[in-house]
Symmetry: C2
Subunit: 243 residues, 2 copies
Amino acid sequence: MRFTSRTSLNGVTEQQFTLGEIPGVLWTPEDAVGARPLILMGHGGGQHKKTPGIVARAHRFVTEGGFAVVAVDAPNHGDRPKSEEFARVAAELRAALLAGGDNSTQLATMHTFLAGQTVPEWQAVVTAVQELDVVGVGPMGYWGMSMGCGLGAPFVAAEPRVRAAVLGLHGVHGLAETAARVTVPVRFLLQWDDDKVPRVHGLALFDALASADKTLHANPGKHGEIPEFETGSSLRFFTRHLG
Amino acid sequence: MRFTSRTSLNGVTEQQFTLGEIPGVLWTPEDAVGARPLILMGHGGGQHKKTPGIVARAHRFVTEGGFAVVAVDAPNHGDRPKSEEFARVAAELRAALLAGGDNSTQLATMHTFLAGQTVPEWQAVVTAVQELDVVGVGPMGYWGMSMGCGLGAPFVAAEPRVRAAVLGLHGVHGLAETAARVTVPVRFLLQWDDDKVPRVHGLALFDALASADKTLHANPGKHGEIPEFETGSSLRFFTRHLG
């Protein structure tokens, strides 16, 4: 793990790093001492580790909850090179989006393709970050919407260090078997008027989660329009389960 | 308005009262001085103003939020006499419950029958309680599940003093037109495995609410099994909108 930059803003220290080929960023409280729970955030499709929503949420989680937050570029996203196979899968997804109608199959193909790589990558990132004194070995949380849910659900299902997850903006296609292996407490966010994920597909994914402790929060609005107050609510959820 | 008893416990003063034929109870912070937002709580079918869930919730709202909370017996409930017409409607509902299957029609008939009386009663109670120095005239909230939603939705739709409402555990039958007149912020609680309200009927009532600001919280479990953490969440919802 190699740190490439370190800056501080509004009480939050941001360190960029690379772990092998993976570019990442770690946010911690400025002048933090000692261990704290870690939250891994997965970005959406076409986004990257420092997409504005991730940065804003990370700042609140660090300053209001005292958490450490880490985000990395997914394969073929952000600062990472795009593979030929990704370009082919992405072209099929784009064609389905342009054609209109149901693109659940193409979306599931894309996420299954990426998750094969992200699950082991994210496990390695967590191991490396938890070696730092300011993080430390311990329970962690996961936060991811849309593609961050499509890649996050397999990670949460596979990784026993994850003790609580905020997922959402994703349908059941390609994730039914994975969801049946998710048993930690889950907060699931659904947009009632989602223009990308049919409502019934999102409700079916919430239904498929095996967790005994799971809560669906549905708000009016389109795919990208989760209300700001849900950030505070997610923060309290993580504090309750990791604090 | 005539007060009949006054006791204090754990920082909460409880005053029982009657307003005409309506028996009620008011909870305020012990030694409270000055005005504060009021929350009216509507109890469930077969319950009464001091049913354990109402009392426990009222205590948290008073001690943690500084609110005043009032609850009254619905007609034919608690300390109030039962009318012949109520007995007839209740017998039809009981028969439908025993027969199994869909009892949405009988439930809607019961709630429509009662709401004709509770809306003006509750408006009179709010007016009387808001004349007290420790409450005062101002914005108020409403909380009610199940029958408390069936009677509460018409109250929220009719009463402009209500600025935020927590509703839930109720289906759309008999409430579609009422819901289309509810425009204040609403928190809607739904139990994913509700044994009394079919899931799709509850989702349809949430959908029918005209409020631009509405959030559905769905948790696993049966009709009466709303998790305790939703009380804290409702409290923060009221604080955000009435505080």
